[in-house]
Homo-oligomer: 360 residues x 2
């Protein structure tokens, strides 16, 4: 079944054996509480049903599902953290309900169909780590037709940003170091600071205009093949005059499904998005289902995902209404599918550039 | 000359090829400004003289020495950052004065004796990285008798600490995770959080009593052999009732030398240390020379070295005046001398423990 388990996969699983990474994720209250709320909102689809938790980690989402009344939860993780998850399950007298399976979703056996898949699979820039592939594998192996997947969909966004403080701090800094001109460091400083994507927090004020949707993922229909490479063409019109320092990426995921699908009798999205309330920030994405959303956008409360920024080596001065256009391709590294190759083309003011980077 | 260059040494040198590490060190104003002040204080010993800068990095200390009037500065670094140092030197028209040598002090050739060695060699817990060995090699190869070494001496301290917030955050956290008892995680959580030394900032209030001197290093006389293994026996008497969470380590280095050695006509140190000024924190180390000191102590302004803490897996409740005693051995890892093995023995209240750790 599925891809063979490589040394890179082993290293990936091993990175989740350390408690610190789970502590960080669990302490991300936006993440964990949104998942808990989603589980409780979908309680009617979970109570008495069979659930699989893909990449269960310490087992906390499986326990939430048990609390929501699941008949049985298969908690699957290839990392050794599964041993701890099993201890937690036993200590909470949940061994009757939660069955911890220590292995890959490609390899473990579940001898029944499942009603619900829950998974917290999102990486930086949504697709980094390629863990969504495991959700797809689980779906194709075990999910009943019409079953629930939480989250049900995901959207990756990008937007041009200005961030002079950040650029100065790492780059312009070298122009005057305790009175010494160390500008000779600039080429290497730019490379070291900005060759790879930066995971960091930006704020709404850094963003030059409305975001562009890089990729929409419907967890019910997405295929492994589609994830190998994602390409989008974008065109932005800067809302202000500013130095353009690069592009920020963020994502949100939505928890909708059978429980809500039938209740889509709200106003059509066009009505919402075309009539922003005066003085209020326009919702960047209409949500006609009012489904629960976990957002990592710069204007929303911070999460451990922060945002991911691709900085240019040199900023571009853009005028108000100036076009910024190009394309971006995110593809799984052939060498290690846990890595992501990023091919960025961008043009503005008559000049065009290409930047290649790898998220490792 | 000296030890052969291993793959571990290559990896070590490579880690200094990234600009970020130099940015962090240079932006540590306590570090960089103390070095600059030391160079200016010793200007009479530097002007017109020959200097070697061991591990020059971007070359900033070499430039300070040139500004202080050095006749010639050999800036030595085995990392590729030496290429940048050379560019900075050229851009500042200092090629006549500063000669960048890209290689190990064991391997490069300098065809004259030097008057001054300057080096910022200190690692976490002072001795981590084992870079002092390069200073010793440079001293034994090139320093004139009676030459100046900056810094001239270093002292490593340790003290018992209490740090309930930190312990709770990583350990007690698991007792109640969104209402779920995840205590089953505790053994692994303790291991993951505290198996290795933690580089972090503590404050004076965390420290239970006066520090113990683990090692004093006189840069003029220390030998490579002495650094292979350092052992000390300690005995503390807690000044308060508190949970003892572990030991913190920090260091200071002193910049004294010929320029100041003849002026030691201040009050003897006993007079200073036995008559602390009322209401003021007692100086933890008498400094009869009034030599410049770069301190990384918890009560002094923070540096990028912070402090290094060895946490116990379980705290020990100590009463006021309770003895805490044992020994600690810091030794270069046989496998990779850039790593440090730490063998800690501690006993208090009739129980004794041993903790082995490795700083990698």
């Amino acid at each position: 079944q599925g891809a063979p388990c490589t040394d890179f996969d082993m290293a990936y699983f091993h990175s989740y054996a350390h408690v610190g990474i789970h502590e960080e994720m669990i302490k991300d209250r936006v993440r964990t509480e949104t998942y808990r709320t989603a589980i409780m909102q979908h309680q009617s689809s979970i109570a008495g049903k069979v659930v699989v938790d893909v990449g269960c980690g310490t087992g906390i989402l499986s326990i939430f599902c048990a609390q929501a009344g699941a008949k049985r939860v298969y908690a699957v993780d290839a990392s050794d953290i599964a041993v701890q998850a099993n201890e937690v399950v036993k200590a909470n007298n949940l061994s009757e309900t939660i069955i911890v399976l220590h292995g890959r979703v490609e390899d473990v056996e579940i001898d029944e169909e499942v009603d619900v898949i829950i998974s917290e699979w999102m990486g930086y820039m949504l697709l980094y780590e390629s863990m969504l592939g495991s959700v797809i594998t689980a779906r194709d192996r075990w999910l009943k037709p019409g079953g629930l997947i939480l989250p049900s969909s995901a959207t990756l966004y990008m937007a041009p940003i200005t961030h002079s403080d950040r650029y100065s701090e790492s780059i312009d800094f070298w122009r005057n170091v305790y009175g010494i001109d160390m500008s000779a460091m600039l080429p290497l400083a730019k490379q070291c600071a900005f060759e790879e994507p930066c995971v960091e927090t930006i704020v709404g004020e850094n963003v030059l205009t409305w975001p562009h949707v890089v990729k929409q993922v419907d967890c019910h229909t997405i295929t492994l093949h589609e994830l190998e490479s994602v390409t989008t063409n974008y065109k932005f019109k800067s809302m202000m005059r500013a130095p353009l320092h690069g592009f920020a990426f963020w994502f949100d995921v939505e928890f909708s499904g059978p429980a809500l699908a039938g209740t889509n009798n709200h106003a059509p999205s066009s009505l919402i998005s075309n009539h922003p309330v005066e003085g209020q920030q326009r919702k960047k994405r209409a949500n006609p289902n009012e489904a629960l959303v976990l957002s990592t956008a710069p204007e929303d409360p911070p999460t451990h995902w922060q945002q991911t920024v691709l900085y240019f080596y040199d900023p571009i001065e853009v005028e108000q209404d100036q076009l910024i256009e190009g394309s971006v391709t995110l593809s799984q590294s052939k060498e290690n599918r846990r890595f992501m190759n990023i091919h960025l083309e961008y043009a503005s003011g008559g000049r065009s550039f290409v930047k290649e980077s790898v998220m490792r």
